[in-house]
């Protein structure tokens, strides 16, 4: 009952914003409005169906606790490697449902009210936010359970946020592909792991610098990561229209 009410309210808001599209507003503003409306809808669903959010939280807690049981006080490079691999798995679990949860009928509805670019951008935005929250939480738990080898805390938190963002972008697009292929999250891992290796390598290299007080984090590598991320966003906007037409 609760869910059905949320659906109608969501649909009404997006309908209003579609009408404003025809009132000859600048296209850019209209599409920003669409993105915000779709983003709000995802947020609302997340707030109403909290089980999935808590599910991911539990996943983070349980994995890190298992690691805590398996190894005590890991060395710096082990800590680093484990942290990023756990981030990768959290990302797959957090992002996988974003496209799989949309039923065929609902996709058809979105198809009639929003443009594919708006739709995919709203998903990217929402998953980025989700992953940023999850990355910070997992960092907190990691330092609580497995010790804190980080020397430059501020820089490392920045890196974690950047890394979480990069991961969420790649896996959001792959979730769209997996959902269209009617596959489960397992194929996302197969498709995504080879693609994410370069970014993970860069991130691990950068975080090693954050563990060492002598080394400085090279700015060019960070720019490289940001450039890669913007390229992924552009590719998603260009390629998503081909995916969602059925």
């Amino acid at each position: 009952m609760k869910i059905s009410r949320s659906r109608t309210s969501v649909f009404r808001t997006s309908y209003i914003s579609t009408k404003s599209y025809f009132r000859a507003k600048p296209v850019f503003i209209a599409s920003v409005r669409h993105i915000i409306t779709l983003f709000k809808k995802d947020l609302l669903l997340e707030v109403r169906q909290q089980y999935s959010f808590y599910g991911i939280l539990l996943y983070i807690g349980a994995t890190i606790f298992v690691l805590y049981m398996a190894i005590e006080e890991p060395e710096n490079n082990v800590w680093n490697g484990l942290f990023w691999v756990i981030q990768l798995f959290i990302c797959i679990n957090a992002v996988a449902k974003s496209f799989l949860q949309e039923s065929k009928g609902r996709m058809l509805y979105f198809y009639s009210v929003a443009s594919p670019a708006d739709f995919v951008l709203s998903k990217l935005l929402f998953n980025s936010l989700l992953m940023l929250v999850m990355s910070l939480l997992s960092l907190l738990l990691f330092t609580l359970f497995l010790g804190n080898p980080v020397q430059k805390a501020g820089q490392f938190i920045g890196l974690v946020l950047l890394g979480g963002w990069s991961l969420s972008l790649v896996f959001t697009f792959l979730a769209a592909i997996a959902a269209k292929a009617q596959q489960n999250a397992a194929i996302m891992a197969v498709l995504g792991f080879p693609l994410i290796i370069p970014q993970l390598l860069l991130l691990m290299k950068l975080s090693n610098a954050a563990f060492n007080p002598v080394l400085t984090i090279p700015a060019t590598t960070i720019w490289l990561l940001i450039a890669l991320d913007s390229m992924i966003i552009m590719l998603a906007v260009i390629l998503f229209p081909f995916l969602w037409k059925d």
């Binding site: 790649v170 697009f173 592909i177 269209k180 292929a181 009617q182 596959q183 194929i187 197969v190 498709l191 792991f193 080879p194 693609l195 290796i197 370069p198 390598l201 860069l202 290299k205 590598t221 490289l224 890669l228 390229m231 992924i232 590719l235 390629l239 081909f242 995916l243 037409k245 059925d246």
Partner: protein, 230 residues
Amino acid sequence: MRKSWWKILTVVLLIYTFTAGLLVKIPNLPLLGQTSRNLFFHVGMWAAMMTLFTVSVVNAIRYLRTFDLKYDIYARQYVTSGIVFGILGYSTGTIWMSYTWADPNNPLFKSFSAVAREPKLIGTAIALLIYFAYLVLRDSINDMDKRARISSVYNIFAYALLFPTIWIVPRLLPSLHPGQEANPALNFKDVSPEMRWVELPAFIAWSLLGVWITTLKIRLNILKERKLSQ
């Protein structure tokens, strides 16, 4: 004789590669010695692999522009031939490596995990994994149009992320591989001018051979499709 000039060129260039590649004067570098001749065969495989993957992506883009299923078959076949050349590149590299880098006191199998960390190997391993994933994805979908569309999208996305890997990551990590400052075998410092005269024709020859093999496979597959649809 229509359109057959490039096949003749392939044969001529391959004969040239094999004769000149084994006869050309080679600078006798320490450790490498005469094994440098493998350059014409080992790096040639990578050249052919990258060419085939690039042609595959071009065909994926062409499919998304025209929705002609022919281009999807092209893209698929270029990927499989690219994978074959990739595996050949790996094996020629392994043989070369086992005579130069591998610790002579350790058997090859034991030193493999140390050597496979090599950045250039990581790049190509990623390329192979990506295209295996492409094949898995493509064969998991039954509907023909959907299969073509989704696999083309993944092909383009993966290729766009693969290139940064191959060109950027090797420069960031330490390596034993010759040509540390740039992509190996393409800069003029570590190859003598005589070798360059064999190297470039060899690259062209291997790439053309790959394309030739693939065109035959494409023809076979298009015939099969036609037979199925009748």
